[in-house]
Subunit: 182 residues, 2 copies
């Protein structure tokens, strides 16, 4: 079984977080939602979601991938969390997948993980991300183990790309039919 | 200010519920999430969401539209809720918008609200819905005050159509840019 970690901080973008969790679970992937603060955590549009556990309890050894939702305030809150930066270092060192959508690529950028990489992000953080990365306007970009995407409107394509990387294209085709996704 | 009611029952489809709530709130619409049981309510893929209030406390006079997410178990649970059926009758009598996505059009069908109407739904409930309605395979269908759609993969288009009906096309264009929606 593949396992994916989704970190959640107050101000997370709800469509992005929920689309990642829902689509990956539909694919048979074990998704753990780890919160930076006590549950429920409130998203950028006031939706309150209960996390499975605290981010402080997470061991990187339990996961094949981390997928980080956006929401500018949520990403700012994640940047302040020392455990998350340590986890990103461990995921990188062990060559595990790191996914980031919307404002979240700016977190990877500040952590020094995007140097010379092909990436995309929400247009609002493009200038920051483009400083060290090779910026693309594609809706989903994969470069090695780094997977990036742009916003709530690309969340479904992003989640399906994560499924493809972990489970293959056949699983994606099967999911698309049930989701009524183009 | 426009006001929209989103009823939530255990087993709701998370992408559909959250996309409706998030996109409508981005448009400046007041969205009330009303649960059939104590919060948090668990969705079809195990995501737990906190409702704003109980469906029993809802007064139809406070709303311009009801938008019902799918999830087959969630919709079955909504069908058992007497208050929801009463609300649908009142929304119909007062010619207010009724939106339903995925399995939720089957609820409208059983309530007798789709007779001779152009509608769509998730393919899995097509046979049931098509008994009395004029079935379409379009991704979003509007017929008078009834707005229907197909699944998680059409949730963004559905939510944007609801925004268009309440707030106009300019608001939709503005949202699409921020959402990075095609």
């Amino acid at each position: 079984v593949k396992r994916v970690l989704v970190p959640l901080a107050p101000g997370f973008e709800e469509i992005e977080a929920v689309t990642i969790i829902d689509v990956l679970r539909r694919a048979g992937i074990e998704v753990t939602v780890a919160g930076t603060s006590p549950s429920p955590l409130q998203g950028s549009r006031g939706i309150r979601v209960v996390a499975d556990l605290s981010l402080d309890q997470v061991d990187q050894a339990d996961f094949d991938m981390i997928a980080i939702p956006g929401g500018s305030q949520g990403v700012e809150n994640l940047k302040k969390h020392p455990q998350l930066l340590a986890l990103l270092g461990e995921f990188t060192a062990r060559s595990k997948y790191i996914g980031a959508i919307c404002a979240a690529p700016s977190l990877l950028s500040e952590a020094g993980l995007l140097c010379g990489k092909q990436v995309t992000s929400h247009p609002s953080v493009k200038a920051q991300v483009a400083k060290t990365a090779l910026y693309s306007d594609e809706r989903v970009v994969v470069d090695g183990k780094i997977v990036t995407s742009r916003g709530p409107g690309t969340a479904m394509e992003f989640a399906l790309k994560l499924v493809e990387l972990l489970m293959g294209k056949e699983k994606v085709a099967e999911l698309k039919e049930a989701l009524v996704s183009p």
